[in-house]
């Protein structure tokens, strides 16, 4: 008897959940998204970035923290080895000095210095992570930074940190936001009032300031950064979820679920929250770039990720120093970051249009 009731309840429930319709909504959205060229471009770029960051440890790139002090500020070059660039630089320097002293050519002493450098760069070896390598044969496609570290590796690993912060921050804030928003929306009454008040007051705060204070006081490491970003960023999700749930909670399918005795938790998290998923997906895609921007903002001020780790923000910040002489240190990280932000925004906008055709002409 009991099992019979349970079974019929389950079939009844699954009919109400209507997984078929859910799938068709997403299929429909995917069909619309595929038509949006910008969004598809964004999606491809995001996938490439994700693959690069995940596979960073097995990519054939140098270590992001190994320093070759002699290689500092080497310009980007596809073809030349580090040694050749060093020789070129030394030669221009010596020539400039000779010119200052009124000569057109190098004297013997200077030539000897150059050939010495040539000989040394051709043979010198160093042990890098267990392997003996000819250190001056390294090629820096995107140049090096102030400590002779490979900029390409730093950008890829920095991207890993930045994207991780974007994704984890979004997941945490969505998680907190869903729970709080769902409770406020469904329970209503006093709980709703208190939660809404708290959200309103927190909205009034200059929350970036709060994050800066937290980072300054509790130490500047990545964990605190996650924590600080997460506790200030759930507000929007909570608001959105609350609004959606209030508008849905008197609908017939909830009534039906209640009438067959579903618990509050089940109604909220099995029936109501999945209905807000579209909004949450759009929010998440658009909040990943904003998290990345927040993190970079902090790192730019020196309050975010600390060396030897890098993030796009800290790389741009490093690049600002001496950008007149070594512009690649500013431009490469900036371009890489901006391309990703663009891709994320296109994808987010595309998803929003795909999931909600009504908002087509809106922001």
């Amino acid at each position: 008897m009991d099992t019979a009731i349970k079974e019929s309840k389950d079939t009844y429930l699954s009919e109400l959940n209507q997984p078929i319709k859910g799938v068709s909504l997403w299929k429909d959205a995917w069909r619309r998204l595929k038509k949006n060229k910008m969004a598809m471009f964004g999606l491809v770029v995001v996938i490439i970035y994700a693959i690069l960051s995940i596979t960073a440890p097995i990519l054939p790139i140098y270590s992001y923290k190994y320093q070759v002090i002699e290689h500092q500020y080497l310009p980007p070059s596809l073809t030349k080895k580090a040694g050749e660039l060093m020789i070129e630089r030394e030669e221009t320097l010596l020539l400039a000095m000779a010119e200052k002293m009124g000569r057109n050519e190098l004297n013997d002493q200077e030539r000897e210095k150059l050939s010495e450098l040539k000989a040394r760069t051709a043979t010198e070896t160093r042990k890098i992570s267990g392997k003996v390598v000819k250190v001056h044969d390294r090629r820096y496609i995107l140049g090096t930074d102030s400590l002779g570290r490979d900029l390409l590796a730093r950008i890829i690993y920095g991207g890993q940190v930045s994207i991780a912060i974007g994704v984890i921050g979004t997941i945490t804030s969505v998680f907190i936001g869903i729970i709080i928003g769902a409770l406020a929306g469904y329970l209503g009454g006093r709980v709703d009032y208190i939660i809404t008040r708290i959200i309103d007051v927190m909205y009034g705060l200059p929350y970036m300031m709060l994050v800066i204070i937290l980072m300054a006081l509790f130490g500047r490491n990545i964990l605190n950064l996650f924590f600080a970003l997460a506790i200030v960023s759930w507000l929007t999700v909570a608001r959105v979820v609350r609004g959606q749930i209030i508008s849905l909670k008197n609908s017939e399918f909830v009534e039906a679920a209640r009438s067959i005795g579903s618990s509050t938790g089940r109604i909220v998290f099995r029936h109501l929250v999945p209905n807000t998923l579209g909004v949450i997906v759009v929010f998440s895609t658009l909040s990943i770039p904003s998290f990345i921007m927040l993190e970079s903002f902090l790192s730019f001020l020196g309050l975010g990720v600390q060396a030897p780790f890098a993030s796009w923000g800290s790389l741009v910040s490093d690049g600002v120093e001496g950008m007149n002489l070594y512009p690649w240190r500013l431009f490469f990280p900036a371009i890489v970051m901006v391309v990703f932000l663009f891709a994320m925004n296109f994808l987010g906008d595309g998803l929003r249009d795909a999931l909600d055709p009504k908002s087509k002409n809106k922001l």
């Binding site: 007051v201 009034g204 200059p206 300031m209 001020l301 741009v316 970051m337 901006v338």
Partner: protein, 309 residues
């Protein structure tokens, strides 16, 4: 209306109280103090310093003292710069940040709405496309990329503008051009997109059709009928824009070496200068709260549908 304003005004104080309380306790429960040095201070000296700043008292008593001080308009002495109190720093630097921020916001609103208007009137022409691509760039590219890139081209390569400085310095007003452009860019972009979208919507509405049917000139329709309705989203975006400009100014001041409040804020964060840190946060919050209050009132004036009961 008056009743609404008064009620909203009274409502400001709990928010302010929460901010002061939160920043006070967050700062106090944090590990490490402002007097931690590489070389440890002798305990008796540390005790004397703590006594001077009343840090040896129970937390609640300190909190009460701090609240009373704030009521009297005194934000206390700076811990990192013993000769100065917090009010000194704020009075010196806040006007600079205010000038920068208000010019940036003014430009963002006026030019943003202007561009939005033009691209909505010339919808789907090259003007529209250029303006909107520009707006997308403004929304996506972060301030701390825009600032250095501008500086690289206009100060270092072309040498048209000074890299840094302030109005009172030797270069005068030209120093403010790049900081203002950098700071206003994202909000200009946002306003342009917002106003374009809302003007397009209003242009399709019945009352605009009626106005056209009456034979009014397009320019009159635009400024007298469309703009008033279309400005609503822009006004409601002003609140977040204020907050953004305040935080953005921290970065912009850093890039262009503007001696504003943001510089002191970051410095205080590095120095763990409790009182300066709290002082700046309170000042920023007060500005933000007051601005939001005005935004609410302006919104009420613009939108006759809102009732204040």
């Amino acid at each position: 209306m008056t009743k609404f304003i008064i009620r909203r005004f009274i409502g400001l104080f709990p928010t302010l109280f929460v901010i002061i309380t939160m920043s006070f306790f967050i700062v106090r429960i944090a590990p490490g103090g402002p007097f931690d040095r590489e070389k440890r201070l002798p305990p008796e000296i540390l005790r004397n310093i703590e006594k001077k700043y009343h840090l040896d008292e129970p937390l609640l008593k300190q909190y009460g003292r701090y609240l009373l001080d704030i009521l009297r308009g005194d934000l206390g002495p700076s811990f990192a710069y013993p000769d100065h109190d917090v009010n000194f720093f704020i009075f010196n630097s806040l006007p600079k940040s205010m000038i920068l921020g208000s010019i940036a916001l003014g430009i963002a609103v006026v030019i943003g709405v202007g561009v939005g208007m033009i691209s909505s009137v010339r919808q789907n022409t090259w003007v529209d496309y250029t303006a909107m691509s520009f707006a997308v760039i403004g929304i996506t590219v972060p301030l701390f990329v825009v600032g250095p890139v501008l500086m690289f081209f206009f100060a270092l390569k072309l040498d048209w503008l000074p890299t840094s400085g302030w109005i009172t310095g030797q270069h005068g007003w030209v120093t403010i051009i790049m900081p203002v452009i950098t700071l206003s860019f994202p909000y200009f972009a946002y306003n342009a997109r917002l106003s374009r979208a809302s003007i397009l919507e209003v242009l399709r509405s019945d009352y605009v059709r009626t106005a056209r049917a009456k034979g009014l000139r397009e320019i009159v329709i635009m400024f007298k009928h469309v703009l008033k309705g279309a400005l609503l989203p822009v006004v409601s975006y002003l609140g977040p824009a204020f907050a953004g400009i305040i935080t953005g100014s921290v970065v912009v001041e850093r890039i262009f070496r503007v001696p504003g409040l943001g510089q002191f804020f970051v410095q205080a964060a590095f120095n763990r200068d409790y009182t300066l840190l709290m002082g700046t946060v309170i000042v920023y919050s007060v500005i933000l709260i007051i601005m939001n209050f005005f935004v609410d009132i302006i919104y009420g004036f613009l939108d006759p549908r809102i009732s204040y009961s």
